[in-house]
Amino acid sequence: MSAVLRGPVPAQGESGFTATAFNRRTLAFVIAAFVLVVAASEALAQIRTTGGSRGIVDALIKWTPLLLFGPPGEFGGFFLNIVVSFLAMAIGTVAGLTLGLGQISLHAPVRRVSWAVTQLFRNSPWLVLLFFVMLLMPYQVTVGGVTIPLPDWLKATFGLSLPIMANMAEIVRGAVNSIPTSQWECAESLAFTRMQTLWRIILPQCVKRMVPPWMNWYAILTMATPLISIVGVNDAMTLAQDALAAEQKTELLMPMYGMLLVFFFLYCYPIARWTIYLERKYAVKI
């Protein structure tokens, strides 16, 4: 019988999904592809160069610490991508929670403004918002006579937290709306104020539902962090290009960019797997 008739083939652990960080076959595929790219480039480099030159593998090993941690004594590299993603997520979550609660406010103007802000930042491209913040935010702020400098990477973090804020607001609104009305009514009958109901009864129940989409957005945010290289922050992408410029080797192009892709894959793939696992675990069984 044909494959379609057999029913769809289970994609990564549809049945018997376990919470391992990697699907073994997918990981093997990615590693094999990367090794193939490196090997092919190495072979090409050996054919083209006439002795004395450093091989592709050596070059990759030489630049890996720079790509991961940035120049010695400075803040940069893949580590900076991770720091930016954590910070932007934290800012975006807090702001998004406020905005999401604003959307279910009892005051119509607050509700309308929150809705408009959410739609604006949700439907704008990340890169445009990033430029928006980078170009229109001052490089330092003076609060009560104290001047606080705003380095580029911090401004970029604010820029990336804007879309996260808007999407978090939607998640919060959706989660609050998914709580049965009876919960609100019960709380009211027990003389809880609206504030108390929200913070002690509704939101604690929302957390479970919000965790999987929240993690999903964290992964999306992490994958958006290389955008900050366009606005001139020393992240892994910028440093990879610097390293390529220093080496001046066309054979190094594919392995170097490939390595960067593998870094991000190794970081984001387990998060995606974990998200699916939690989604299934917290799913409402009908």
Binding site: S2, L5, A11, T26, N123, S124, F132, L135, F265
Partner: protein, 248 residues
């Protein structure tokens, strides 16, 4: 039109609000060309990514384990790596390996320009998501429907083409809508490989005229309209394709 441009020009003189991208003929045509490029980029990528999604979802139902593993690897890799790095990989790493052709001026140039590479990389990126979306749609098609097709002597391809896919397409339209909007927004990344799309042109204009705020608002408005149009079209498509017996 002329009087409107004059009004905007006097607005600049009087208030310092510089909407040069509208009243200056050169800047306006430049901006419009940028917007046209964005629309082209979005439409072509949407087309290719949907094709990739349909073919990929079909291959995922294949009998060959290796083929399924390759499709799965492609999906997971493209879903879990940054689209910008993918684009750089395609343009800067794969681009130079391609053969060069001689253009009409007798100068050797790369076979694929930055626009083509942007199309390729964005299509593969969005296509990876589309495969998953179409697969979920195919899974939602009832088994009895497929069995009915089987009993009518449809072979595997016919079942897929005439029974499963038309239904699956309808089931996955909302999710597809989301992904296509996302794709339209991701086209801004083509800025990084110097495709003259809206963001790229806008950055040129604000560098020339230092009217960042005005340009930014124009940009945001443009993208909101673009996203709005896509959502509107998809909703209309959803309504036009609705079949009785499913959903509400």
């Amino acid at each position: 039109m002329e009087s409107l441009w004059d009004a905007l020009r006097s607005l600049h003189d009087a208030q310092g609000i510089n909407l040069v991208q509208f009243y200056n003929d050169f800047e306006r045509s430049r901006l419009l060309r940028g917007m046209w490029t964005t629309v082209q980029l979005a439409v072509i990528c949407i087309g290719f990514s949907v094709v990739i999604g349909i073919v990929g979802a079909w291959l995922q139902g294949s009998r060959h384990r290796l083929l399924r593993a390759v499709v799965q690897g492609y999906i997971q890799f493209f879903r879990n790596t940054p689209p910008l790095v993918q684009m750089y990989f395609f343009y800067f790493a794969l681009g130079p390996q391609m053969p060069r052709i001689v253009n009409e001026y007798g100068i050797a140039q790369p076979m694929l320009g930055s626009f083509e590479w942007a199309v390729i990389s964005l299509s593969f990126f969005a296509g990876a998501f589309n495969v998953e979306i179409f697969r979920s749609g195919i899974e939602a098609v009832q088994k009895s429907t497929v069995e009915a097709a089987d009993s009518l002597c449809f072979n595997r391809l016919q079942t897929y083409r005439y029974v499963v896919l038309p239904l699956a397409l309808r089931f996955c339209l909302p999710a597809l809508n989301n992904n296509l909007v996302n794709l339209a927004k991701t086209t801004t990344q083509a800025y990084a490989i110097a495709v003259p799309e809206t963001l790229y042109v806008a950055s040129q204009i604000w560098s020339d005229h230092i009217n960042v705020l005005e340009m930014m608002i124009t940009l945001l408005t443009f993208y909101l309209v673009l996203v709005g149009v896509i959502v509107w079209l998809m909703t209309r498509l959803e309504r036009a394709l609705a079949v009785p017996g499913f959903g509400r």
